[in-house]
Structure formats: structure tokens, C-alpha cells
């Protein structure tokens, strides 16, 4: 789980003011990136990330265990991204947006990026919560309001799709295509 924040910062943010602004500033990059990875649209991602930060600020005073903050905020971010995906304009094709503003140095990351695009939003959210935020299926179920068995099913389908996509990418990388072979012959 990459987000690691000082618990004193979280405590000071509960009273609002400068402490809250510092916390929002620290959380914003994570919120935007996760929302973008699910929504794949800069405008929608910013909408979801803004709402996640606002929801965090509104609910923060009630958070008792600051050590649980990372998991708590990841749930908020993913939930808001899924909510934005559900109410997005139906005429907008999310996955046709350009990849401006994304820089991948590794082919695995690009393959994951492409493979995620083939998944429904719920499965993208489950994948992010599981592999990035480190939540188990029970925690994900509590976060997105689905039975644990449904979450496990979603995760299984998502894993299968990712593995297939990534294995195809591997095969494509390792084996020459038919066209190349025919040239060699």
C-alpha cells in the first residue's frame, strides 16, 4: 500500500484549516491516479478525486483509528471513482481518450493499462483495491457494498482477464509473427 502518512498529520487535519489542506495535498496525487486508472478520463478522474478528498474531509473527524487511514481513504477513492463511472454521460466513450499525461517505462505497466480497459469498472476497482491498496476480498466487499462472494467472483474474472491479456503480450513479445516467419522462409 504505497500511501504512508504521518498519523500526527491525520490528527491535525481533523480540526480543518492548514492541517486539512496539507493532508488533501498529500492525498490528491494518489486519489487522482487511482481514479484515472479506473475511469481513464482526466475530467472524470479529477471529478472523482475532488469528491473523494471532500468526502475524506467530511468524514475525517469520525475516523478513530488513524493507522487504518490508508485503507479507509483507498476505499473512498475507489468508491467515488465507481460512482462517477456509473453516472458518467452515456454518450462519452471513456476508453477512447488519449493517453496524454501517462508515462510508462515498463511494458508490464502498459499491458496492465490496456488490460484494465477491457474490464468493467467494478472489476477495475476491485483490482486496484486488492493489488494496490492490499485489501482482501472481505475488506473490498465492505468498501464497495457487495457480498464477499461476489467480490471474489469479480476478482477471479479480473485476474483471469489480466493474466490472459498479459500472457498474450508475453507471447507476442517472445515469438515472431507469422508474417515475419514467412519472410524468413
Amino acid at each position: 500500500m504505497p500511501l504512508a502518512l504521518d498519523s500526527r498529520l491525520i490528527e491535525s487535519a481533523k480540526s480543518g484549516g492548514a492541517g486539512l489542506e496539507r493532508l488533501i495535498t498529500d492525498v490528491w496525487p494518489e486519489a487522482y491516479r487511482i481514479a484515472f486508472s479506473i475511469l481513464r478520463d482526466a475530467g472524470l478522474a479529477e471529478d472523482a478525486a475532488q469528491e473523494a478528498c471532500a468526502a475524506m474531509a467530511r468524514s475525517l473527524p469520525a475516523l478513530k483509528n488513524t493507522f487504518g487511514f490508508p485503507a479507509w481513504i483507498y476505499k473512498i477513492i475507489v468508491n467515488n471513482a465507481i460512482a462517477v463511472a456509473r453516472r458518467r454521460p452515456r454518450t462519452q466513450t471513456l476508453d477512447t481518450v488519449s493517453d496524454r499525461g501517462i508515462h510508462f517505462d515498463q511494458s508490464d505497466a502498459m499491458d496492465i493499462h490496456n488490460a484494465l480497459a477491457t474490464l468493467p469498472f467494478m472489476q477495475r476497482g476491485a483490482i486496484v483495491l486488492h493489488y494496490y491498496a492490499g485489501l482482501n476480498s472481505r475488506e473490498i466487499a465492505a468498501a464497495i457494498g457487495l457480498p464477499p462472494s461476489t467480490v471474489r467472483f469479480h476478482l477471479m474474472l479480473a485476474r483471469r482477464a489480466l493474466r490472459e491479456a498479459l500472457s498474450k503480450a508475453d507471447a507476442h513479445t517472445l515469438q515472431p509473427s507469422e508474417e515475419v516467419l514467412s519472410d524468413v522462409r
Binding site: 504505497p2 489542506e21 488533501i24 495535498t25 490528491w28 496525487p29 487522482y32 491516479r33 487511482i34 484515472f36 486508472s37 482526466a42 475530467g43 479529477e46 471529478d47 475532488q50 469528491e51 478528498c53 471532500a54 468526502a55 474531509a57 467530511r58 462517477v84 453516472r87 458518467r88 454521460p89 454518450t91 462519452q92 481518450v97 488519449s98 499525461g101 501517462i102 508515462h103 510508462f104 517505462d105 515498463q106 508490464d108 505497466a109 502498459m110 499491458d111 496492465i112 493499462h113 484494465l116 483490482i127 486496484v128 493489488y131 494496490y132 485476474r159 489480466l162 493474466r163 498479459l166 500472457s167 508475453d170
Partner: protein, 262 residues
């Protein structure tokens, strides 16, 4: 084969490879104070529109994903409409200039650092605002003296989305008491009619001043004249006299504003 660790590592690399815009602190604070947003609908400017001021201020609205060729087409459309209105259309803006007019997200403090006037944020906004965004965008300036285009100082756009899906803009710029008065009307240039004639929709434009800032808003489907006046009153702004459509132009430059969908 892809194991779990490889998926996790690839996902982390992917997420960290995404560029992040500046923190929109102003918009987040607005959401904090206003509770949960209503369902989002399509931005009302989701089709290419051209808003035209008959004289000094020219603005057109584009989408972030538009190619420069499409932007040039829209810009050409505004020039044709401007000539129809009897105005003086400048020569086409070069592609290099159009590409320099891209917006940048900002907080109030970031925006303040980019402009040469004191920003007075909007107040007295309609109660149904659900999201807000601030951007700074350089303006294109055409000099009637040197007959050339150059990139001018940025304007600040406050864009708001309403609970029912409508959205509107308030544009803040530096007030120049010696400059051209703002035009009273803006013309939205729709797609040309089948016979090629420009199709225009007329909107009244309001302008008010706070210190060395001039803020403008255009009434229409998205915000009424009464709501705009409530904003001006809440900001303690002084209404700026506007120039009528057929009043002669006296300025030495034209401003081109590319307003991009938030």
C-alpha cells in the same frame, strides 16, 4: 506466466506513471461545504461552439481532445461569423499560437501567481453548484497596429457545474481603464446552415470590476441575468459600462480566448 506479484508491481508502476494535475483546493473546499454532488451530466459545451464578441473579446470553446485542425476550423467559423456581423475579423491565428492557448488547472494561489491582477474570487453563486474548477489560460492577442498575433497574459476561468447538469463560466482578467469597453453581447456561432451562412445566437454579456480585476459572464440557458447580477452584488463589484454592438471600435488589439471544457 503472470504471477500475483508481477501484476501488483505492474499495477503500481502504471499508477505511478500517471501525471497529476495541481490540487484544485478551491473546488474541493466548495464540495466540502456543499455536501455530495448531484449526478453529473454532460458538460453543456460538449459540442464545439463558438462564442463571439463583436469586437474586442473573442472566445471560443473547444474540447481538450480536439486536434489543432479542428480548433482551426472552429476559429475560421468565428471569423466568418464576425464578418457577417460587420466586425473586423483578424487573419487566422497561426497553429502555433492556438496550441499555446491551452488551459492549466490551478488553485487560487497558483492562479494568482500567474496573473498580473489581484484575483477576487466569485461570491454569491447559485445554491445548486456541485463542482468548481479554476484554470488559467493564455490569451491570443492580435495587434491592429503590427497586424500580428502573439500570446498575451493569461485569464482566469472559474467553471461551475450545477446540480441539473448545466455549467457556466466566470472569466476574470486584468482591468484596463484605458482599454476598450467590453462588448454588451456575445454571439454563439453554431454549425453553419446548409447554405453555408453562419448561425448565431445572441447572449447578453455582463462585466464588473473589483480593483484591477474585470469579471465577465454570459447569460443564457446555464445562468440567468438575475443570477449573474447576484454574483456581482455579493462580490461588491462595480458594473463596467459596456459597448453596444454597433458602437465603433477604438482599441488597438483583439483578444482571442480559447475556453476549454473542464
Amino acid at each position: 506466466m503472470f504471477d500475483e506479484a508481477r501484476i501488483g508491481a505492474a499495477l503500481e508502476t502504471m499508477i505511478h506513471g500517471i501525471d497529476v494535475p495541481p490540487v484544485p483546493m478551491f473546488g474541493i473546499h466548495q464540495r466540502i461545504s456543499q455536501g455530495r454532488p448531484a449526478p453529473r451530466h454532460a458538460w453543456p459545451y460538449s459540442r464545439p461552439l463558438v462564442a463571439i464578441a463583436a469586437a474586442i473579446a473573442i472566445a471560443f470553446i473547444a474540447l481538450p481532445s480536439m486536434s489543432s485542425a479542428v480548433v482551426q476550423t472552429i476559429e475560421a467559423r468565428y471569423r466568418a461569423a464576425l464578418q457577417t456581423l460587420g466586425g473586423i475579423a483578424p487573419p487566422p491565428a497561426p497553429a502555433s499560437l492556438l496550441s499555446a492557448l491551452s488551459p492549466h488547472s490551478a488553485s487560487i494561489s497558483t492562479a494568482q501567481s500567474r496573473v498580473r491582477f489581484t484575483i477576487v474570487p466569485p461570491a454569491g453563486l447559485p445554491k445548486d453548484i456541485v463542482s468548481a474548477k479554476i484554470t488559467t489560460t493564455p490569451t491570443g492577442v492580435y495587434s491592429k497596429v503590427t497586424h500580428s498575433w502573439h500570446v498575451g497574459p493569461p485569464m482566469v476561468s472559474f467553471s461551475y457545474r450545477r446540480a441539473d447538469g448545466r455549467g457556466f463560466l466566470l472569466i476574470a482578467d486584468r482591468y484596463d481603464p484605458q482599454g476598450e469597453r467590453p462588448s454588451k453581447y456575445m454571439f454563439e456561432a453554431m454549425a453553419p446552415a446548409p447554405d453555408g451562412r453562419p448561425v448565431l445566437v445572441k447572449h447578453e454579456r455582463f462585466a464588473w470590476r473589483n480593483g484591477n480585476q474585470i469579471m465577465t459572464a454570459v447569460e443564457g440557458h446555464d445562468i440567468s441575468a438575475r443570477e449573474i447580477d447576484a454574483i456581482r452584488v455579493a462580490m461588491h463589484g462595480t458594473a463596467v459600462p459596456r459597448r453596444n454592438l454597433h458602437a465603433p471600435e477604438s482599441g488597438t488589439s483583439l483578444k482571442l480566448r480559447l475556453i476549454t471544457k473542464p
